[in-house]
Amino acid sequence: MSADQGSQIVNKKLWHGVYRTQLSWYPTINDDACTGCGLCLLTCGNSVFKWNLQEGMPLVASPQKCVLGCTTCGKVCPDGAISFPENPATFIRNVIVKYKVYPKVKEDLNEGLAKFPDHLVDSHGGDKNGK
């Protein structure tokens, strides 16, 4: 797949009705702090990172693939070398309010529950909240 095809697929990606390309959320690596352990690349399930084999260091290759509000790579980074544009909760809150996503979230929820009916819970089935 060429880079163009890849970016087309990414461009079409929606977050509860909002175009991903309208939103800016991605990790930034501080190369001075990074020790090149590779845990960020291992943790990310969206191929945001690539690996510079010569340097033995990760780089942010596909920032548009980053899950909105996700900071998992930053949390697991033992070196504290990864930062994000802003507080993730603030970022998501602003997106929710600006784009009024809840009607679409409800649609997505119903689709998800239709796809995974075992995730429908009967409130009379006992307390399963947390543990």
Partner: protein
């Protein structure tokens, strides 16, 4: 059957037993408004949440499927109805305890399976 498979897929985190890691969302049902954003934010692969149509609230069904270090559901909850038992320092502590050989092996394995990730 499928859940068993999922649970085993996430049973070990970089050499550490997932069952020994205290990381999963906890929902305060008194704060949850039932918007469902946490349910759909959690990926289909891990699918930690269920949804109670009668009570109109999200519930945590599979806490051990929760990705270590991820709290995207908490971040997406405008009502602060989701908490985690530990914080980022706990996650960093875990990460620092991973054997270097384990990460090296996993990294080499991922790169050999996904050569497009190599620059």
């Amino acid at each position: 059957m499928e859940e068993t498979k999922m649970a085993s897929e996430f049973a070990v985190w970089h050499g550490i037993n997932r069952s020994e890691i205290n990381w999963h969302p906890i929902i305060d049902p008194n704060k949850c408004t039932g918007c469902g954003l946490c349910v759909v934010t959690c990926g289909e692969k891990r699918n930690v949440f269920g949804y109670d149509l009668q009570a109109h609230k999200a519930v945590v069904l599979y806490p051990d499927n929760c990705m270590v270090g991820c709290n995207n559901c908490q971040v997406s909850c405008l009502w602060n109805a989701i908490t985690y038992p530990e914080d980022v320092d706990y996650i960093k502590g875990l990460a620092r305890n991973i054997e270097k050989e384990t990460i090296d092996k996993e990294l080499a394995n991922k790169l050999s399976k996904n050569p497009d990730l190599i620059l």
